[in-house]
């Protein structure tokens, strides 16, 4: 028999049944207890920013939405608003409302999807099938409005490409009523069921202090009681005209504990909030044009010589995300494009959440931040002085890392 405690490593990923996306985490374990978690991102790196910087601004719109298929509206919105900011294009009043309706519909689809994934991770496939069944209803509405189930291609500079006509309002109302009717059942399953409660209560705790220190975003930190929501802090699109409040557990009589249960609660309550926001939008939507730049050829010509830099921010279903775009006169393509997705921030919160938990809790804790690896995996090393772009292989990076350790040790010796 082995005496004393020996830690051993379990690599999970990049292609693994517990993960829906390519991602890798090395766990150090003492018996069943996790003592260290070491994430290895980069398994889904496609070089999206690099590709975007070699295309003209209009061609980047479809690329931007293919950063991630679940939050395609998010990236489209951030890219277009960043560019609008850079070259002073003002979106029309009506398009702001259409954009908001689409973003909130996507939030419903994303949160219902997450609830299904969470149920699957803790072994309740019945609930997973139930949530995915009710998700199809919002997919139908998104398809009716945009023409596609996923990757909607709705956004364009200065507005949107498709209108929400009067005759679509009954379908919107029907869909929202469908979710209102089913919401109690959904809450009963995820908050009332004793076995789900047992698996999620006090699991993967993120304290408010840690949440603030690690700069987490979205429902991940709102579950810990952090009041952080771009829709309220720095309203964009139609949000300044709408009434909404921070969704945190204490608002509904629960403790701001920051465990998986709190995060589930926040996501479920946000579904109801989204339904309310869409209803407000439909009521208040003004008449008018849907885009302020109908002539795309003229716009492209203008953008070829335009210069400026802009930022697009929004509250994605997973938390705050941001795009930075720069155009210069002598470059026809997008000169610089940087994406900061919400999962990038939330990844840092994994370490305190995994610590001290059991191997069997890995899937649900991994899922509780609603990770979106497709959004996050972008990194490129650019030498600022020469502008040379370089890639590093794993071995080279390892050598660099070893070298750094050696250098530090020498420094200490001296």
């Amino acid at each position: 028999m082995v005496k004393g405690k020996a830690t051993y490593e379990v690599p999970i990923g990049p292609i693994h049944p517990a993960l829906k996306e390519p991602f890798m985490v090395n766990f150090k374990l003492e018996g069943e207890k996790i003592v260290d978690a070491d994430p290895h991102p980069g398994m889904n790196h496609r070089g999206i920013e690099f590709m975007g910087m070699h295309r003209n601004p209009l061609k980047v719109i479809p690329l931007a939405e293919r950063t991630c298929g679940i939050c395609s509206i998010v990236h489209q919105h951030m890219y277009t608003t960043a560019l609008e900011h850079a070259v002073d294009i003002v979106p029309t009043e009506r398009s702001r409302y259409i954009r908001t309706i689409m973003m909130e519909l996507e939030r419903i689809h994303s949160h219902v999807l997450w609830a299904g994934v969470a149920a699957h991770e803790i072994g309740f496939d019945t609930h997973m099938h139930f949530t995915w069944k009710i998700r199809e209803k919002v997919m139908d509405l998104l398809e009716a409005i945009s023409g596609n189930r996923v990757n909607y291609s709705m956004w364009t500079f200065g507005g949107v490409r498709r209108d929400i006509e009067e005759d679509m309002h009954p379908q919107i109302k029907e869909t929202l009523d469908y979710y209102k009717d089913l919401y109690d059942k959904l809450e009963d399953i995820f908050l009332g069921d004793p076995s789900i409660r047992h698996r999620t209560r006090d699991v993967g705790i993120l304290t408010k202090k840690k949440a603030l220190e690690l700069c987490g975003v979205g429902p991940t930190v709102r579950g810990s009681g952090v009041k952080k929501d771009v829709r309220i802090d720095q309203p964009y699109s139609a949000y300044p005209d709408l009434e909404l409040d921070y969704v945190i557990p204490s608002r509904y009589g629960y403790e701001n504990k920051g465990d998986v249960f709190s995060k589930t609660l926040v996501r479920l309550k946000e579904i109801i909030q989204s339904i309310d926001l869409i209803e407000q939008c439909v009521k208040k939507m003004p008449e008018g044009e849907i885009t302020s730049e109908p002539n795309k050829a003229a716009l492209l010509n203008k953008l070829k010589t335009a210069s400026g830099e802009g930022i697009g921010r929004l509250e994605a279903p997973r938390g705050e995300a941001m795009h930075y775009v720069r155009l210069t006169e002598d470059n026809e393509d997008v000169d610089c494009w940087k994406i900061r997705a919400s999962t990038y921030n939330n990844l840092a919160t994994y370490a305190p959440m995994f610590m001290g938990e059991q191997i069997a809790d890995i899937p649900i804790i991994a899922a509780c931040i609603d990770p979106c690896i497709g959004c996050m995996d972008r990194a490129e090393i650019v030498d600022i002085e020469t502008g040379v772009k370089e890639e590093y292989t794993k071995d080279e990076l390892h050598e660099l890392s070893v070298q750094k350790t050696k250098d530090l040790l020498e420094g200490i010796d001296r």
Binding site: P22, N44, G47, K133, G374
Partner: protein
């Protein structure tokens, strides 16, 4: 061993993602959930390539997971079918001129690999079901052959 008649009506599939944007991946999950429900045809998502008859492949192959994708292909027992899901898996689609992309998958797999292309960006669940039908037709031809 000869393939029996029951084999082609109980295809087990394994999902491999290498650089996909998630859109096709969630449509695959939509296909196995109640609205489209391919489980009524005996199709099931399994946890390891060693149990699978069909590989559902999504995404342009990216540098970092290329070796792993090829290893998964080798781990899958014969006879097998690779369903290439989505435009970017078939042609790399919107992702072109990138340093990180090695695909598309058909240039990397051995010549005898049987591929079924399912197009769309993202694919529609109905189209995936059509792709599964193609896989049946291929496997039906093999029935009675020595494998």
């Amino acid at each position: 061993m000869k393939l029996s008649k029951t084999f082609d009506k109980s295809l087990w599939v394994f999902h491999v993602n290498s650089g996909s944007c998630n859109a096709c991946d969630i449509e695959i999950v939509s296909t196995v959930t109640p609205r489209y429900d391919v489980e009524r045809f005996g199709i099931e998502l399994v946890g390891t390539p060693r149990h699978a008859d069909v590989l559902l492949f999504t995404g342009p192959v990216i540098k970092k997971t290329k070796e792993r994708v090829l290893r998964i292909y080798e781990q899958t027992p014969d006879p097998k079918v690779v369903m290439v899901i989505g435009n970017c898996a078939g042609t790399t689609g919107v992702y072109y001129d990138s340093y990180a992309i090695e695909g598309p998958i058909d240039t990397l797999l051995p010549d005898d690999a049987h591929l079924i292309y399912v197009t769309g960006c993202p694919v529609r669940p109905e189209n995936i079901i059509n792709g599964v039908k193609e896989a049946w037709l291929y496997l039906e031809k093999l029935r009675g052959d020595q494998v």
